[in-house]
């Protein structure tokens, strides 16, 4: 590993790419997940069914086949080129939105019925109730597990290497090839991912303690998004 310090800038740049890709996917996924969660808690049952099918579908299909479809399938079908970056962001965001919607739904449902009734009874409109009463209370339930969703996205972003996007994993494989094989670069990869992900999960645990209501703990350990 001593001679491979030359590759350090490459690894740092690739780590940046991985963080950028996963953050972008998380942001899009969070917006999407929020909308799906609103549908999921809607009063109209067809909307609820659509949202349920969406989340169940994306939680029963591996993200890798969505990625392949976005990258190889969409250009053939629609006739325009999809860059590995766009395909990866799209697939990661779709999966993240399904996971996020479950987290947001749990947050919305954690706000007691009485709160809704009281707010509506005091003459607030639905939107006002959402904004001033439900959102502030739901947010503290939503924040800790969304850290878990982010960690899943971060790890899943390694799949972008399979369609040839130069993020962290791809870079590690390339470095390994230029060095003629060996353990080093792959272990370096694992170490970087571990530091990123473990660091974030520690922040998540701190966030969870900060927002815990009356000593009640909500577990971020509940696997949001499965293994990746």
């Amino acid at each position: 590993m001593t001679g491979s310090l030359v590759f350090l800038p490459l690894f740092i740049k690739a780590t940046g790419t991985t963080i950028w890709l996963s953050w972008l996917a998380l942001l899009i996924g969070a917006v999407g997940g929020f909308l799906i969660a609103l549908l999921r808690t809607s009063r109209l049952w067809p909307l609820r069914v659509i949202a349920l099918l969406y989340t169940e579908a994306f939680r029963s299909v591996p993200i890798l086949i969505v990625l392949f479809f976005a990258y190889f399938g969409v250009p053939v079908m629609l006739g325009f080129d999809v860059s590995p970056f766009v395909a990866a962001t799209f697939a990661l965001a779709l999966h993240a939105s399904a996971n996020m919607s479950e987290v947001v739904r749990a947050g919305i449902e954690s706000v007691g019925r009485g709160q809704w009734e009281a707010a509506l009874a005091s003459g607030m409109r639905m939107r006002e109730v959402m904004r001033h009463i439900v959102a502030p209370q739901a947010l503290r339930v939503i924040l800790p597990p969304s850290v878990g969703v982010y960690i899943t996205v971060l790890k899943e972003s390694s799949l972008a290497s399979i369609i040839g996007y130069f993020e962290l994993t791809r870079t590690g494989l390339l470095v390994r090839e230029t060095q003629g094989g060996g353990f080093g670069p792959l272990l370096a990869l694992a170490a970087i991912y571990f530091l990123l992900s473990y660091g974030i999960s520690l922040c998540g645990a701190a966030l969870e303690r900060h927002y815990a209501i009356g000593g009640a703990t909500t577990s971020t350990d509940a696997v949001v998004g499965g293994m990746a």
């Binding site: 029963s60 299909v61 591996p62 392949f68 994993t169 696997v223 293994m227």
Partner: protein, 224 residues
């Protein structure tokens, strides 16, 4: 856009799909079984009286849960030959998948063990039970009840994760989709078919879990 959806184009490849689905299922079932064994060992390690052993158990769990499965697979697949072990794609994928899943499994089993009140261990020992008897008759039934639901979720997670085995050249459903798509240029059809296979596998396990759970515990449990 002049792409017409015709499932007929995929028909010639359906034989391969059956073999691929069998591969996905074999890989997942074996990985679950192996990860159950490793996970149980790690969970017990985390309850050890020795600090070093506890730390080793915790470190294993954190490393596995905080590194991408793909990296674990590459390490097992590419690095094993470097220390003189040649693994076939299947063995490498199975090993990587099991090692990674064991990290999650250990946490599930640990939660199950924590849920058993300490008095149960003491009472069983006071009754003169041996370690084996205590685990078999007192601890295991209670642990099983707690871990049953998360175990089902884990099974589904492993099936989905087994798709990554295609990256180390195992011919399962995802690699079927990739090869057939590339050969026939029918990407949409192959995607739909592969997605349906995964949905059917996952939902079958989900429903079976609910049914068996109802029979075993006489109380319905909702998924997550």
């Amino acid at each position: 856009m002049n792409y017409t959806f015709t499932l007929r184009t995929v028909f010639p490849y359906l034989g391969g799909l059956v073999a691929a689905a069998e591969m996905t299922l074999t890989l997942s079932v074996l990985a679950i079984l192996i990860s159950l064994v490793i996970g149980a060992a790690v969970a017990v390690m985390r309850r050890s009286r020795l600090r070093v052993v506890r730390f080793a158990g915790a470190a294993y769990v954190e490393v596995m849960r905080n590194t991408p499965l793909l990296v674990t697979l590459y390490i097992v697949y590419f690095a094993a030959p470097a220390i003189g072990i040649r693994l076939s794609s299947f063995t490498a994928a199975l090993l990587g998948l099991s090692l990674n899943a064991a990290g999650y499994m250990a946490e599930i089993i640990r939660a199950g063990l924590i849920a058993v009140p300490g008095g149960q261990f003491e009472a069983a020992t006071a009754q003169g039970m041996t370690m084996g008897q205590m685990f078999r008759h007192i601890i295991f039934p209670q642990v099983f009840r707690t871990i049953y639901a998360p175990l089902g979720n884990q099974f589904i997670a492993v099936i989905l994760a087994s798709s990554l085995a295609s990256a180390v050249a195992v011919e399962e459903v995802t690699s079927w989709m990739e090869t057939v798509g590339a050969n026939s240029f029918r990407f949409f059809e192959t995607f739909v078919v592969a997605a349906v296979v995964y949905v059917v596998l996952c939902q079958t396990i989900n429903l079976a879990r609910l049914q068996i759970g109802r029979m075993l515990f006489r109380q319905p449990e909702a998924r997550r």
